[in-house]
Each structure stands twice: as structure tokens, then as C-alpha cells.
């Protein structure tokens, strides 16, 4: 079943080293609740039954609980990604809607406290540990998202062992986007190292019973590997823009908006869906053409990098 990833807010309470530049600027904001209602009204019509909330930090949306209630009453399943900082306070609000909560994903950027805290700020590792403790006691399913960076590339197995011991239902590794800031901070690894890391993750997938996946963006000769390109996932940013590019939607303070399909303040979700189909056809045609003309660079085989360049999301 297709799903929608909804950026509820671009506000965040942390200031992570690897966060996308300008993402959480002071002129940011929260998704209007009227737009959420619009999505809930239309999405079932295209057989969507799962909504995933992201941000920013989605739990910071001032009407987060009200949104969950509406999602629950409209009979959608849901999940969200969180840095976990305020979960020990807000988890109570989730409990009434738990039977439609498919899982919470905690961001954990290191198997060790000092590694994670270096990236996300002091105290954030212990917060996540408290959060997963609550999930275990309250039987709330959770998974862990981790970004592979220069200083974590050698500790992938350690991360898988940690996730297993904590009782996580899954572990998702993702590549770090090579933004100028991430490169300057020495966080990124080279495309060659990415391929090596992907091989290591492949081995972990075989040796652990817990599901381990690699987030879209890994090296592949499949031209349309991710859920968005397979029309299985739609992305909506906090401005109400339905976007084609999932990883960097909302990036750049309005620059490079070629990926914006339409705004839900101005049109229905059903209308943006039609536009999505048209853009997808154009994108597919051009990508196939470029590939067949042997115009691909090595980096074009990392689908996120291809999209970032295609939609001019970075300078």
C-alpha cells in the first residue's frame, strides 16, 4: 500500500551537526491542520492507508496530539520519526491511538553515547535510551534509524547488536547527504566507501534475525529503486508542498523548487496526484534516456544524488 511522508514542522529542538543547512530556520513553520484534514479526506481515494510524520521534530507541532486523533478517527495507520528528546513526556498522548500506531522510529547516530552526543548534543543518547525503555514496558513497537558517517562506518555491527539488545523491531542504515556543510565537518564518506559500507550492511542482513534495511540512496543500477519513484510514497513538506524529492524536500529556503508538484493550500491532494504521475513519467523518460546515452556519472547510480542534481537542490 502506498504511504505519505508528512513533514509536520521544520522546527527542531536539537541542532545536529549533519542537519541540512537552513532547514530549521527562524522563518520556518508548522503544517496547517486544514492541510492535514485535506490529506485525510483524499488519500484513501488512492489507496493510501499509512502516514509517516517527520520534521524537523514532528512532536513539536503545537497540535500534534490533535493531528494523531484526527488520523486515528479517519482510520489511517501511522508512525513517526523522532529524535526522542521529549518522548518521555509525550508518550502518554500516544496511548489512546496505539492500535493504529505501526511504529516509532528513533534517530540514533552512534552505538555509543559519546558518538551520538557528538552529533546530536549532550544528553540525547540517554534520552533515546529512556524512550526505548518506555516502548518496551508499554509494548510500543519501535525501530532505529542511523546515518552512516565517517566515524560510524566501522561500527555498523555494533549498532546492529545494540538495536537487537534494545528490542528494536528493525534497523535502517542511511547514507549521509554530501552537503557542503557535511563535507566541511568531515562527516561524509566517499562514494567508494559507501559501496563498501553497503556490502557490510548486506552481510549484517544475513547474520541478524532483526530486519536490517538500507534506506534509499544506496548504489544501484536499478534506475527507479525507491518508493517515491515507484509511486508508493508521497512527500509533503511543512508548507503543504507535495514534493517529488523525498530526502531534501523543503531544503534551501525556497531555492531549487523544481521538485514541488503543487501546494495543498491551492489544490486538492487528488490534483497533485495527477501532476505527480505526469512528473514521474517525464523524470523516468529523461533518466532512461540519459542512461542509454551513457551520460551517467558514477554518482548518478546513487539515486538520491541523481535527484538532488536533477532538481537542483544544492548549489
Amino acid at each position: 500500500m502506498p504511504s505519505i511522508v508528512i513533514e509536520l514542522t521544520n522546527h527542531c529542538n536539537l541542532s545536529c551537526q549533519h542537519c541540512l543547512d537552513g532547514r530549521h530556520s527562524s522563518d520556518g513553520g508548522n503544517l496547517k491542520i486544514e492541510i492535514v484534514e485535506k490529506i485525510l479526506q483524499d488519500a484513501k481515494g488512492i489507496k493510501i492507508d499509512f502516514l509517516s510524520f517527520t520534521g524537523g521534530e514532528p512532536t513539536l507541532h503545537p497540535r500534534f496530539t490533535e493531528i494523531l486523533k484526527k488520523v486515528y478517527e479517519a482510520e489511517y495507520n501511522f508512525g513517526f520519526v523522532t529524535n526522542g528528546w521529549n518522548f518521555t513526556e509525550m508518550y502518554r498522548h500516544l496511548l489512546p491511538f496505539r492500535d493504529r500506531l505501526r511504529g516509532i522510529t528513533f534517530s540514533l547516530d552512534g552505538s555509543r553515547e559519546e558518538t551520538h552526543d557528538r552529533i546530536r548534543g549532550k544528553g540525547s543518547y540517554r534520552r533515546v535510551m529512556q524512550d526505548v525503555s518506555i516502548c518496551i514496558v508499554k509494548d510500543i513497537p519501535f525501530t532505529i534509524n542511523t546515518t552512516v558517517m565517517f566515524h560510524t562506518k566501522g561500527k555498523l555491527k555494533e549498532m546492529a547488536e545494540l538495536a537487537t539488545k534494545l528490542g528494536s523491531r528493525g534497523l535502517r542504515f542511511g547514507h549521509l547527504m554530501p552537503t557542503p556543510r557535511n563535507i566541511a565537518n568531515g562527516l561524509t564518506i566517499s562514494p567508494e566507501e559507501c559501496v563498501v559500507v553497503e556490502g557490510m550492511i548486506g552481510k549484517l542482513q544475513q547474520s541478524f534475525t532483526m530486519p536490517i534495511i538500507m534506506a534509499p540512496g544506496y548504489y544501484t543500477t536499478n534506475l527507479f529503486p525507491c518508493a517515491t519513484l515507484q509511486m508508493q510514497e508521497f512527500n509533503i513538506d511543512w508548507r503543504g508542498n507535495v514534493t517529488f524529492c523525498c530526502h531534501m524536500s523543503g531544503h534551501g529556503n525556497g531555492t531549487g523548487n523544481k521538485d514541488v508538484i503543487g501546494n495543498l493550500d491551492e489544490m486538492s491532494f487528488a490534483e497533485t496526484y495527477k501532476r505527480f504521475i505526469n512528473l514521474d513519467e517525464k523524470f523516468r523518460k529523461e533518466k532512461i534516456e540519459r542512461h542509454s546515452k551513457r551520460e551517467f556519472k558514477d554518482s548518478d547510480y546513487f539515486p538520491c544524488w541523481y535527484c538532488v542534481n536533477y532538481f537542483k537542490k544544492v548549489d
Binding site: 518521555t88 553515547e113 540517554r126 535510551m129 529512556q130 526505548v132 525503555s133 518506555i134 518496551i136 514496558v137 508499554k138 545494540l162 539488545k165 534494545l166 528490542g167
Partner: protein, 95 residues
Amino acid sequence: MPDLNCRIKPDPEVIITTLEEDKEAVLLHLGTKAYFTLNETGLRIWQLMNSDITLREISERLQNEFDVSPEKAKKSVLNLIDELVKEKLVRVVDE
């Protein structure tokens, strides 16, 4: 095995998370990644452990606060501490 004259301290690698308006808690040892849940009485024992008092004094405080017999209070304290020691969640400070 600790007796009532012991003082106990939480292991520094243990984090505690309270739930349900402080009537329940869960411990997580960051080294072993072992979870351990505490009920209301267990949570109170854990809190009193940080007051640098003996298990006998903890037991006496429980008798008053939860209106239980001295024997029951002693048994509750010693049984819990025994489990916590086995799980390496606490350390015996002195005996």
C-alpha cells in the same frame, strides 16, 4: 547476599525512566542493555537508595509509607536488592 546493614547505590551505567506519574519505572543498564521494571514499591526503594541509608532504614521507611508489616517490608527490600545485585544494576557500598 546483602543484609539489612548494607547501603546500596545504583550502578552509574543505569538509567531510570519513570512512567505513569511516577508509580512505575524501568531501569536500563547501558552496558548490558538489560531492562528491569520497578513497581511502585520498587521505585520507592530505588529512590531511598540514593539517600545513603541502610536497607534496614529503607525497610522502616516502607513500613510507614505503605502501611505494611516489618517482616513484609524487610522481605520486599531484600528480595528486590538481591535481584538488582544479580542484574548488576546496583552496587553494595558497605556491608
